[in-house]
Symmetry: none
Subunit: 249 residues, 2 copies
DNA sequence: ACATAGTGTGCAAAAACCTGCAAAACCGGC
DNA sequence: GCCGGTTTTGCAGGTTTTTGCACACTATGT
């Protein structure tokens, strides 16, 4: 890999994720950390990013001094996104919802992936749109400002005509007794039809939402095939779900 | 192998792979690396590629990573957008296409406007989404990477069920003889159904596209109600269209 | 304070580069 | 065909760039 090419890749990653780690890049590009550090220094001088201890941040991100909690959960979501992205193979039909974890997944998709993505989430569609080999099917209906996804009977009817290989859902609450729960009734309608339509259901969530509950029920645990969190699958918090027959990643 | 022939091959490889290595080329073409280097230098001076340490990168590659924010007649489009935005009143149902002029219109909408916008253009939807009082209906179907709007029979069928008050179209070519013309067959199908569905049709275009022609016909001039350009309505270029019964703004 | 992880400096090897030069090929005119 | 001039190409050499490693130093968090 050429130096210039490598630096372009780094800039791309920074713009995408707002943050990069030296050791991650070193592993991804397969060069020493020293080289990465020198690259980051150069790019810093050119004003393409801001070098910090351990990696670099995007210019936009650094302007606002975010609370550290947000950065932390951003990290978790990126891990989740990367795990989820690995499930998708060339030629698959994938149905996805919205939410920040789904966006992170979209950003982690390999550039040369060739698959079909179906979604009603505008931010997710924008991400998919950037991938040259991905076909995007937009689910139309009225757009919800809160969730930034399309909601309504037309959307549900459309989803019911599909038989995707995989369905990715960002979830807001999951517990052993009540299964998956959520707060918005309209969103739940869509999620239910997505679950029913798909051959395999993958749920994404950060660990802090595990064993929590929301007022509206989406589905029982037995509808879920795979659960992805930022924790390793051996973590004690996840063992009850493994025991319930869910593949935990 | 002739010099000219060799350089043509190099340019071809760069356009194909976005990148070439000096030593690879040297091996493939069976000339010394010095010769390759000299070729790359010449091609660099001619602007055919960008020479870097170890090889060369395509111009396209460099554009993507170091985006050149080339603003194409941005000012004119802003004027058009502002004129168009004035046509929309509270409570209206508005159908819009895609394109940069439509985006400019969306950005010019007053914050307190309360109307319903229907569109299949993802960038336009993203703009509408930012307005607190605007309801957005998304037209679903397969997303075209080129035009960033949804295209297909489902989208057309959906549009045919609507009766919006106004329809805004960004157009690529208009002339007295052939009316509105465009280059993409699929996009034209959508535009035609949008025109048929709407009570009033508003066309937006920068003046340089007036009296130009494209291969695919969209509709005759008599289907258009309002034509908006960046020029004042008294401008001589526009008078033939006024005479044809179109309201020019 | 201690352990861990990240940093900067200097160094050395490899790769790529530049310069100048000469052989070979090519060209135009006689 | 022949001869001076130009272009092209490869090579020798010395220089610069790039990269990884060793080592001592500094930051960060528990």
């Amino acid at each position: 890999m050429l130096k210039r090419e490598r630096q372009a890749y780094i800039v791309h990653q920074v713009n995408l994720h707002n943050k990069v780690l030296s050791n991650t890049l070193s592993f991804e590009i397969d060069v020493s950390e020293d080289t990465i550090r020198r690259d980051l220094q150069e790019l810093n001088e050119k004003g393409k990013l801001i070098k910090v201890h351990g990696g670099a941040l995007s210019h936009a991100f650094n302007d606002i001094t975010y609370p550290s909690k947000k950065i932390y959960s951003q990290d978790s979501k990126r891990i989740i996104g990367e795990k989820a992205a690995r499930l998708i193979k060339d030629g698959m039909f994938v149905l996805t919802g919205g939410g920040t974890t789904i966006i992170e997944m979209a950003r982690s998709l390999p550039v040369n992936l060739s698959a079909t993505f179906i979604s009603g989430s505008i931010p997710a569609i924008v991400e998919y749109m950037h991938h040259p080999l991905i076909e995007v099917i937009v689910i139309g209906d009225k757009l919800s400002k809160n969730s930034k996804i399309t909601l309504g009977t037309h959307a549900i009817a459309k989803i019911n005509t599909l038989k995707p290989d995989l369905c990715f859902l960002g979830i807001n609450a999951i517990d052993l007794q009540h299964g998956i729960t959520d707060s918005d009734w309209d969103v739940v309608q869509i999620k239910q039809s997505m679950i029913e339509a798909s051959q395999k259901v993958v749920c994404l969530t950060i660990s802090e939402k595990i064993n929590t509950m929301q007022p509206v029920k989406v589905c029982n645990l037995n509808k879920i095939d795979i659960l992805i969190t930022e924790l390793p699958k051996e973590h004690p918090l996840l063992q009850p779900y493994v025991a319930a027959g869910i593949t935990v990643m």
